[in-house]
Amino acid sequence: MDFEPKLVGFLCKWCSSAGADLAGVSRKKYPPNLIPITVNCSGRLDVSYVVKAFNDGADGVLISGCHPGDCHYTSGNYKAWRRVALLKHVLEEFGLNPDRVRLEWISATEGEKFARTVEDFTAEIKQLGPGPFSNAKERK
């Protein structure tokens, strides 16, 4: 059986989750690997959640918010941006490929972008193989 990555996506409610809804309304197909969790704002993302997700067996984590300048809460996405940049450095220090964490800006009108992002991220993580605490080998 092929390796099917387990992905978690933190989507902000106003832009990215609405963009994911639009992908649905427009019937854009993408692989079912990513489980979406809608949060009020990408700024709600505590980077420790990303670490927790890897501990719980995630192979990749997507964080998606409104485009810079478009945050419903003015500036939460800028905070997410900085936090994720810092997190990537830390993850690298711990020997985890920072490409397993992806930050994207997806607006409510970008259904197509959402679908392609999930498709692309799924393919990329497939290439990278199971994450640090993945139980993928046992699942075989």
Partner: protein, 653 residues
Amino acid sequence: MASKPRIGVFICHCGENIAGTVDVSGLAEEIIEYDDVTFSTDYEYMCSDPGQNKIKEAVEEEDLTGVVVAACSPSMHEETFRNVVEDVGLNRYQCEIANIREQCSWVHGEDGGRPTEKALKIIKSTVEKVKRNLPMETVEREHSDKCLVIGGGVAGIQAALDVAEAGNEVILVEKEPTIGGHMAQLSETFPTLDCSQCILTPKMVELNQHPNIELMAYSEVRNVSGYVGNYEVQIERKPTYVDPDACNLCGDCEDVCPVEVRDEFNQGLTARKAINIPFSQAIPSSYTLDTDACLGLNPLRCSECADACDADAIDFDESSEFVEEEFGAIIVATGYDLYPKEKMGEYGYGEYEDVIDGLQFERLLSATGPTGGEVRRPSDGKVPENVVFVQCSGSRDPENHNSYCSKICCMYTAKHAKLYKENVPDGNAYVFYIDIRAGGKDYEEFIQEVREEDRVLYLKGKVSRLKEIDGKLRVWGLDEISGERVEIDADLVVLAQSIVPSEAAEETSRDLNLNLGPNGFYKEAHPKLRPVESLTGGVFFAGAGQGPKDIPDSVSQGSGAAAKAIELLAKPTISHDPQVVEIDEDLCSGCGLCVGQCPYDALEVNARGVAEVNEILCEGCGTCASGCPTNALSLKNLTDEQLTEMIKASLGD
């Protein structure tokens, strides 16, 4: 939590929309095995009356403490289902939606049961959230009954009048010395050809005399703070140096003023004095001294106007007045400008005097314009025998200019051509167009009339360039229908310049935290279902600032924005979403990091050295909670514990 949660899961088939891809009955059977789930069922349409009744019955009979509806996006029916659980005594926040349609069944094929697996994870994650949700009550608070309207064009005027008629006080702020906007500059209006000023000025007067409206012309919004229902706004009333009550409009000041500058009202076709009144029916009806043009007030370089004023209405010592007001609602009607013809390299960068824009042609046609309504070209005052009208100048041209359609130009160009032909029956009018867009009541009939009865030559094609040759403007274009190149030696060229948001849009969007779309127009809360609301609570849009619009559309949106403002102001109190941040004082170290992260100034470190949240100001983004080094802050019903368990459930075994 005192007793063990009892969660009910209701899985919707949505006809075949969900059931076609996801094994809904299998989900219901599986989820009942999950921790704390005590009831599960599936049904064809949960949002239908029988579906809603199933939820009500189960809540009562199974004594549920929380409900998960696995169905379409929460943006569709979250309110519906929260009302349902509230009906049977649960707190509305004990109901959550698991989105298994837009974010699952609609985006996956059958794929060997994987969409069902994904749906199960989404539902489990939602169960983990809802079982930790606490009941919340909306926060009710008082609000101001006043409405601020920014912009005194026809959209703002309509909005202000409607709100005032409903009994609310209105302040209308207009940055120019008079209200009326671009509509006051127009000659006649399509498709009825009624005179623009004749239908507009009564409304301007009505606004000025309305007991519930205070007009603040020559004023600008300087600072906005607060939130829906309680916006605190600072308005600068700029000095006009003329007391409107004393001024008797004799015009002596204007006669003696030695300075001449470009006349904005006539689009630069004439000059005006430094002290001037934009047009005779201007409201407020008074002169304004333009200090940018005046020779100088400090030190005083010339006082001819004051010396000439018998009414003693001119006071050079006047200065800006700053007014602070509180408003419950704000209507933004900042309008449009024309895309500058100086940006049209292909049409001479605005350097040819006889290549004018649509608003300039309006002034030439207007009885109150510089030529008294006779069409005479700017360079030598000659009546033009050949006039070329160029549509889509700067519009529908993503490579060089704006990609969008400016919507009103097809109609006003037809009107221009018609009025020119009435003015100069022997003249020739040529209209270059890409397409004719006449979608409006009686619009297409108007275009047909102009094309057929008024002998205006419509040429389908773009003008590639124009150049002045031997005193004529040579226009090179293509007639796509005959497939032939066209060369016309014109006496006057009228460019239907693209509509762009007025300069004020950018500053207003910053003041009020409004989103702008890619072309700089205000972005509405929903492009179809909430077209007059912004995403900032209590702020509404009217007119062309939100997108190119003609007069009827601007007036409609003005009334629409007014209705939204009245709806808000009519409520005795405003309820505020209770999902805000709370602080565990035992954990707070008083470092104050959260204070700087809050975009709403809702946090402060209080006298006891711990963070304190203003629940009215907090919008519930949760950014501070994620940035708190001691985890002292948490967002209600989206806590660290909830998210941690949701992540675990999303990843499964």
